[in-house]
C-alpha cells in the first residue's frame, strides 16, 4: 500500500477543465461530482447559514434584553424563532455534517469518491434553492412562517400566513436532499470499503454516519408526510389536524415528533463520531471500547424511534403512554452514558495535548453531558410538567446542540482543515475562539435554566420583570458568543488561502487511512484501494 505514490501525479488536478473566467469557475462548482468539492460546498453553505441563523438569534436576544416592546414586533419575533430553528437544523448542522461526511468517508474507507457522485451533486444543489425559498417567505405578504420550527397545527394550518406553502415546499426539498445524501453515504460505506476494511474496523465517524443515514432515510419521509398533510389541510379541504372535521391536532405532534426525535440523533450522532476521532488522536491512545461504542450508537438509534411522545407529555396523552415514553426516554441515557464513559476512558492514562480540536472535544464531553443531565430530568413526566415549554427546555437543547453538536463541528473542522487545505490553521486564533466560545456559551445558556425554572415560557417576545436580570446576562453572553464566531470564520478563510504547510500525518497521534494521503489530498482520493491490515 502506498497511496502517496499513486496520488502525487494528481496533486494539482482540480477536475476537468470547464472553461475560463467566471463561467468556467461557475461550471466547475455547479457541475462538480467530486466528493471533496461537494463537501466544501456543503461546509461553506453551512458556515454562511450559521451566521444568517445566528444573526436571527441575536435579533431575538436584542428584543429580550429588556422587558417591553423595543425593536421587533411580536409577529416578526415569531418568524425569527421559526427561521432560526429551521435554518440552524436543516441549514447548518445537517449540511455541515454531510459536508464532513463527503470529505472524510471516502478517505477514511479507502475509496476514490462517493458511490453515487451525480446524486451527490444533485443533493447539494437542491439546498441553496431550498434555503432561498425559505428565506423568501420573509418578504412575502403576511410575513414568513411564524409558528415555530415545530409547526404545530392548527397554528400552522388554518391560522398561518400564505407563505407557509413555500416553507412546506422548501422542507420537501431539504428532505429530498437529505434522503439522497443519506443513500449515497450508505451505498459508499457498504460498497466502497478498501479490502480488509471490515465493518468492525470502520472509523467511528463512518459508523455514526452510517447509522445516521439510515435514521434520515427512515424519518425524512415522515416529515414530508406531516407537511404534506398540513398542505392538504390548508388547501384541499382535509381535516387531518382539525377536530371540527374529525381530525386531531395531537396527530400532527405525533407525526412530527416521530420525525423530530430521531432527528435529534441525526444531529448528534455524527458529532459523537467526530469526537470519537478527535479524542484518541490527541490522547495518543486507541479509542476505548470501540465495539461498545458501535453497539451504543445502534442502541441509541433504535431507542430514538420509541421516545417521541416525551415532547408531548403535557398534551394529555394517557397515563400508560406517559409511563412507557418516560421509561424509554430514561433508557437512552444508558447508551449515551456508555459513550461518555468510553471517551473519558480513552483520555484516561493517555498522553494528552490540547490543540484546538481537542479543546473543543473536551468541552463537548463536559457540556454535552451536562445537557444530557437536564435531558434526564426532562424525561421524568411529573417534573416535565413544570419544565415543558419553558426556558429550561431551551437551555437543555441548546446545551446539547451548541456546546454539544456545534462544538463537535468546530472540533472536526480544526481537526481536518489542515488535511483538507494542506495548511495549518492559526493555533493562537483557534485558542482564542475556543476560550471565548466556551465562556460565552455558558453565560448564554446557563441562566436560561434559572429563568425557565422560575417560570419564563419559551418563544415570548416580552416577559415579566422578575426575569430581567438573567435575560440581560443571556443577551450579553449571546453577543460575545456570536462575535467570537467571526474569529472562526476568519481562521477558516485564512487557512484556506494559505498558511504553514503540513505533512500527510498532520497530528502526531493521528491514525487512519485519511492521514496516509498527502495534505491536501489528491482530487480522487484512492485511485487504487489501499490494503488494510
Amino acid at each position: 500500500m502506498n497511496p502517496d505514490i499513486t496520488a502525487v501525479d494528481h496533486h494539482d488536478d482540480h477536475g476537468p477543465e470547464q472553461g475560463k473566467g467566471f463561467i468556467g469557475f461557475a461550471k466547475r462548482w455547479v457541475f462538480t461530482t467530486n466528493h471533496k468539492d461537494i463537501g466544501t460546498l456543503y461546509l461553506l453553505l453551512a458556515l454562511l447559514n450559521f451566521f444568517v441563523a445566528g444573526g436571527m438569534a441575536l435579533l431575538m436576544r436584542v428584543e429580550l434584553f429588556h422587558p417591553g416592546h423595543r425593536f421587533i414586533d411580536p409577529n416578526f419575533y415569531n418568524q425569527m424563532t421559526t427561521m432560526h430553528g429551521l435554518i440552524m437544523l436543516f441549514g447548518v448542522i445537517m449540511p455541515a455534517f454531510t459536508g464532513m461526511a463527503n470529505w472524510q468517508i471516502p478517505m477514511m474507507i479507502g475509496a476514490p469518491d462517493m458511490a453515487l457522485p451525480r446524486l451527490n451533486n444533485w443533493s447539494f444543489w437542491i439546498l441553496p434553492f431550498a434555503f432561498l425559498l425559505l428565506l423568501s417567505t420573509m418578504i412575502q405578504a403576511g410575513g414568513g412562517p411564524n409558528f415555530g420550527w415545530t409547526m404545530y397545527a392548527p397554528l400552522s394550518t388554518k391560522y398561518a400566513p400564505p407563505s407557509t406553502d413555500f416553507m412546506i415546499f422548501s422542507v420537501h426539498m431539504m428532505g429530498i436532499s437529505s434522503i439522497m445524501g443519506s443513500i449515497n453515504i450508505v451505498a459508499t460505506i457498504l460498497n466502497m470499503r478498501a479490502p480488509g476494511m471490515t465493518m468492525m474496523k470502520l472509523p467511528m465517524f463512518c459508523w455514526t454516519w452510517l447509522v445516521t443515514a439510515f435514521l434520515l432515510i427512515a424519518i425524512m419521509p415522515v416529515l414530508a408526510g406531516a407537511v404534506t398533510m398540513m398542505l392538504a389541510d390548508r388547501h384541499f379541504g382535509t381535516s387531518f389536524f382539525d377536530a371540527a372535521g374529525g381530525g386531531d391536532p395531537i396527530l400532527f405532534q405525533h407525526i412530527f415528533w416521530f420525525f423530530g426525535h430521531p432527528e435529534v440523533y441525526v444531529l448528534v450522532l455524527p458529532a459523537f463520531g467526530v469526537i470519537s476521532e478527535v479524542i484518541p488522536t490527541f490522547s495518543r491512545k486507541k479509542l476505548f471500547g470501540y465495539n461498545f461504542m458501535v453497539y451504543a450508537t445502534g442502541c441509541i438509534a433504535f431507542l430514538s424511534f420509541i421516545v417521541w411522545a416525551h415532547h408531548m407529555f403535557t398534551t394529555g396523552i394517557p397515563l400508560g403512554a406517559e409511563l412507557f415514553f418516560m421509561y424509554a426516554t430514561m433508557l437512552i441515557s444508558v447508551p449515551t452514558g456508555i459513550k461518555v464513559f468510553n471517551w473519558v476512558s480513552t483520555m484516561f492514562r493517555g498522553s494528552m495535548t490540547f490543540e484546538t480540536p481537542m479543546l473543543f472535544a473536551v468541552a463537548f464531553v463536559f457540556m454535552f453531558t451536562f445537557g444530557g443531565f437536564t435531558g434526564l430530568m426532562l424525561s421524568l413526566v411529573p417534573a416535565d410538567y413544570q419544565y415543558q415549554d419553558t426556558y429550561f427546555v431551551v437551555a437543555h437543547f441548546h446545551y446539547v446542540l451548541v456546546p454539544g453538536v456545534v462544538f463537535a463541528l468546530f472540533a472536526g473542522t480544526y481537526y481536518w482543515l489542515p488535511k483538507w487545505t494542506g495548511h495549518m490553521y492559526n493555533e493562537c486564533l483557534g485558542k482564542w475562539h475556543f476560550w471565548l466560545s466556551t465562556i460565552s456559551v455558558n453565560i448564554l445558556f446557563m441562566p436560561m435554566h434559572f429563568v425557565g425554572l422560575a417560570g419564563m415560557p419559551r418563544r415570548i417576545p416580552d416577559y415579566a420583570l422578575q426575569f430581567t436580570n438573567f435575560n440581560m446576562i443571556i443577551t450579553v453572553g449571546g453577543f460575545i458568543f456570536g462575535i467570537s464566531q467571526l474569529l472562526f470564520a476568519w481562521n477558516v478563510i485564512r487557512t484556506i488561502r494559505g498558511g504553514n504547510k503540513v505533512d500527510a500525518r498532520v497530528w502526531e497521534g493521528s491514525h487512519g487511512l485519511e492521514w496516509t494521503l498527502p495534505s491536501p489530498p489528491p482530487y480522487h482520493s484512492f485511485t487504487t484501494p489501499p490494503n488494510v491490515h
Partner: protein
C-alpha cells in the same frame, strides 16, 4: 504561624457566613430554582426535581472528577506516556448496569408521583378553561358563572411609555377565584389554536387542544395569588395571555361566586336593555376606543390599522371600517367571521366598548368617516340577533298544495 492560620481560618468562616446571607438574600430576587408551590402535586414535583438534580450532580461529580484528574495529570507536557489498553468488557458491562440501576431508582418516585397526579376523582369544584387568541375564558360549570380573563397591563407600559408595574404582563382584569383545601378540577380546552395553561405554583401545565378537553387537578393549601402564563406558542399575542389564580377560603369563594353571578346577570341584561344605554361624546368614544383597540385588536390589526395582510386585513381604508351600512362593521365584531381568526366579541366587550372601538376605527388613521356610533346602536343589533326566528309552517304559506 499556626495562630495566624487559625485566625485567617476564623476570619474566612466569618466572611463566609456574612456573604452567605448576602448571597441568599440576593438569590431571592434572582430566583434560581423551581417553585415549591402550594399544592401536594407541585411539592411532589419539586421533590422529584431535587432528587433528579442530586442524582445528576453525583454522577457529574464522579465523571467530571475523573475527567479533570485525567486532564490535569495525563498530559504529554508532563511527560506522561500513553497506556496501551483499549478494551474492557467487564468495565463496559459495569457501566451499563450501574446507570440502569440509578434510573430504576429515579423511575420509582416519578411513577408514584405521576400516578397520584393522574387521579381526578371526587373533585369539589370544576372549572372549565377555554383558551383563545389571546385570552382565557373560565366557566364554573356547577355555578353557571362565566367570564373572560384578559391581560390588564396597560398598552403604554408594553410600549415603554409608562413605568412598568410589579406584575407587568402577569395581571388580568378578571382573576380565577378558587377555594383552598378543596379538590379543584380544571378542564382545559381551546377555541382556536393550541394554548397551554400553566400556573407554576399549582404544578399544573395542560395543553389546551382545540376540540379536545383534558383535565388537571389541584388542592391549594395556602390562600394567595398565583400567576402563570400561556406556554404554547399560539400566535402574535402568545406573551400576552397571563393567568391569575386567587385562592381564598370557602366562604369568600361562595360570596365571590354569588357576586360574580349577579354581575354577569346585570351585565347581560344591560347589553340588551334598549332604554338604559348611555350616550357618549365623541371624545369619550375615541379615548376609550383607542385604549380598547390597542388592548384587544392591535395584536392582529396593528396599532396603525395596517394589519398583517392577508392573514389580518388592514382596517385603514377597509370596506368594513369606512363603508356602509355601519351594522356590517358592528356585526363582524359582535359575531366574528367564520373561517378566519376574527372571533366573536359579543360576550367579552360591552356596548360602550364596541361602540367606542367602532367609532375609533372609523375615524382613526385617515378613515375620516366622521361617523359616531353610540352604545344604543350596538344594543339594537344585539336584540335583533337575539330574536327568535318566526317559524312558519310550509302548508300555511301554500308550499304543500
Amino acid at each position: 504561624m499556626l495562630r495566624k492560620l487559625q485566625l485567617s481560618k476564623a476570619l474566612f468562616i466569618v466572611f463566609c457566613l456574612v456573604s452567605c446571607n448576602v448571597v441568599f438574600a440576593e438569590a431571592d430576587s434572582w430566583q434560581l430554582n423551581m417553585f415549591k408551590g402550594v399544592t401536594p402535586v407541585s411539592r411532589d414535583i419539586y421533590n422529584l426535581h431535587m432528587i433528579a438534580m442530586l442524582v445528576c450532580a453525583i454522577i457529574g461529580f464522579v465523571v467530571f472528577g475523573i475527567m479533570i484528574y485525567t486532564l490535569v495529570h495525563h498530559r504529554k507536557s508532563k511527560g506522561y506516556q500513553a497506556a496501551r489498553f483499549h478494551d474492557n468488557t467487564r468495565l463496559e458491562i459495569v457501566w451499563t448496569i450501574i446507570p440502569f440501576l440509578i434510573l430504576l431508582g429515579l423511575a420509582f418516585p416519578a411513577t408514584r408521583t405521576l400516578i397520584r397526579l393522574d387521579n381526578v376523582e371526587r373533585s369539589e369544584v370544576t372549572v372549565k378553561i377555554v383558551g383563545s387568541q389571546w385570552k382565557w375564558e373560565y366557566y364554573y360549570l356547577d355555578e353557571g358563572v362565566h367570564f373572560f380573563s384578559n391581560l390588564s397591563t396597560p398598552y403604554a407600559q408594553i410600549q415603554n411609555k409608562k413605568t412598568k408595574d410589579k406584575n407587568y404582563l402577569l395581571s388580568v382584569d378578571n382573576e380565577v377565584v378558587v377555594p383552598i383545601e378543596r379538590k379543584i378540577r380544571f378542564l382545559v380546552t381551546s377555541a382556536d389554536v393550541i394554548h397551554s395553561w400553566w400556573v407554576p405554583e399549582l404544578g399544573i401545565k395542560r395543553d389546551a387542544m382545540p376540540g379536545f378537553m383534558y383535565e388537571a387537578w389541584a388542592r391549594i393549601e395556602k390562600p394567595g395569588v398565583y400567576r402563570g402564563q400561556c406556554t404554547e406558542l399560539c400566535g402574535v399575542g402568545h406573551a400576552y395571555m397571563p393567568i391569575v389564580v386567587r385562592a381564598v377560603t370557602m366562604e369568600e369563594y361562595q360570596q365571590w361566586i354569588k357576586q360574580k353571578a349577579l354581575e354577569q346577570k346585570t351585565w347581560n341584561e344591560a347589553q340588551i336593555n334598549l332604554a338604559g344605554q348611555k350616550t357618549m361624546t365623541r371624545k369619550e368614544l375615541m379615548q376609550l376606543g383607542k385604549d380598547k383597540y390597542n388592548m384587544v385588536c392591535a395584536a392582529c390589526h396593528q396599532e396603525n390599522g395596517l394589519g398583517i395582510p392577508p392573514m389580518y386585513p388592514a382596517l385603514k381604508g377597509s370596506s368594513y371600517a369606512v363603508g356602509y351600512p355601519i351594522d356590517r362593521h358592528i356585526n363582524i365584531i359582535l359575531n366574528g367571521s367564520t373561517g378566519s381568526a376574527m372571533q366573536s366579541y359579543s360576550d367579552m366587550l360591552s356596548n360602550e366598548e364596541i361602540a367606542a372601538i367602532v367609532t375609533y376605527e372609523r375615524n382613526a388613521w385617515e378613515n375620516n368617516t366622521n361617523d359616531i356610533v353610540q352604545p344604543i346602536d350596538i344594543a339594537k343589533l344585539r336584540v335583533m340577533g337575539n330574536q327568535k326566528p318566526n317559524v312558519v309552517k310550509k302548508s300555511k304559506v301554500g308550499g304543500l298544495k
